[in-house]
Subunit: 202 residues, 2 copies
């Protein structure tokens, strides 16, 4: 059974248990999924009047995109925990002979890429949802603005939490070109996620 | 059935639906519950060596407190949505006669206090969990530090998201003394929540 088909109560207990999964990576994905879902709700609530057909279409498109991003982030709750277990398994491979050592190193490096791809996708999806906030601000019902603000806080927590999980794995990657590329994308996503939307505390 | 006894998948769908509950207030409580749960997990993982019995006891106490705070925050997911519905019901009371108007005003003011108490309790619990981070930093296993960082991001999102929900209701409160007291506590909780722990992005 996937983590997101457990009850919220059971998943919270799983987070509390000393077992390593689910851990921070899955929690960051969940934060993003809740945040994107709140934005999707607000996109379904147009301004009570004075909306043109074009405005309504923009809002509808933003809502569909938020719903798709929330679904992506929901699936990343599981993907992150699976990727973590892949890394752990690779580290447990035998290393008695040179051949075993080489195979283990390759398996670790491959697993690290999977364990980086999951939180990087959380960052991408959270960032894409944050980029839609101006559409909600312009065309959504102002009575639901507090829901946008909370959604934004959750998406930013997802973005920053996922970043921590990318970087912890990136430290063990041997391919410098790949590591530099990922670090660059992480910096770009963090910057636009922080700057691309009105502050929820203003 | 309570919201937290639904599956995560179903709760995410509820957040996405245009129905006003569950909304941002419940989402903020959930963020806090996940954050406190991650801290409780880390508290169950002591440093591999060099821990005194006193250190271990501090860590155990912090873990028990995080678990209790996570349970409080979990119950606040429902409490916030129930409080919102109380406010909506009060606004729907009849207001044809002066007597009805007075009764409606009293009901609205009473409901607003309930709707303020819920996110204020989310702020208090998130803040209390954030205050335990230094204990985890000093005595917890450093391999789990990324989980503390993600937990901190989620608790801060819970704190800020709950603040938005306190303030939106506080704007309609007529009792100035009570409103001033709440505003003061909100400012104090926000400040210590932001300052009381190492930054997760450093």
């Amino acid at each position: 059974m996937t983590l997101t088909h457990r009850t919220v109560n059971a998943l919270l207990q799983d987070f509390r248990s000393p077992a390593p999964t689910p851990g921070g990576g899955s929690a960051a994905a969940l934060a993003g999924a809740v945040g994107a879902s709140l934005l999707a709700m607000v996109a379904a609530l147009p301004k009570p009047r004075a909306s043109t057909a074009a405005d309504l279409q923009l809002l509808r498109d933003a809502g569909e995109r938020c719903t798709a991003l929330a679904a992506d982030l929901e699936s990343l709750v599981d993907r992150d925990s699976e990727a973590y277990e892949l890394v752990v398994s690779a580290y447990r491979l035998p290393k008695a002979t040179d051949e075993e050592k080489a195979a283990r190193t390759r398996a670790i490096q491959d697993a690290l890429r999977v364990a980086i791809a999951a939180p990087l996708d959380v960052m991408r999806a959270s960032n894409a949802a944050i980029a839609l906030v101006p559409v909600l601000q312009a065309h959504g019902n102002q009575n639901a603005w507090s829901d946008v603000q909370v959604g934004l806080e959750l998406l930013r927590a997802g973005l920053r939490g996922a970043r921590v999980n990318v970087e912890i794995n990136l430290g063990s990657v041997k391919d410098a070109t790949y590591a530099t590329e990922v670090a660059r994308e992480v910096a770009r996503l963090s910057e636009s996620g922080a700057a691309g939307a009105p502050s929820a505390s203003s």
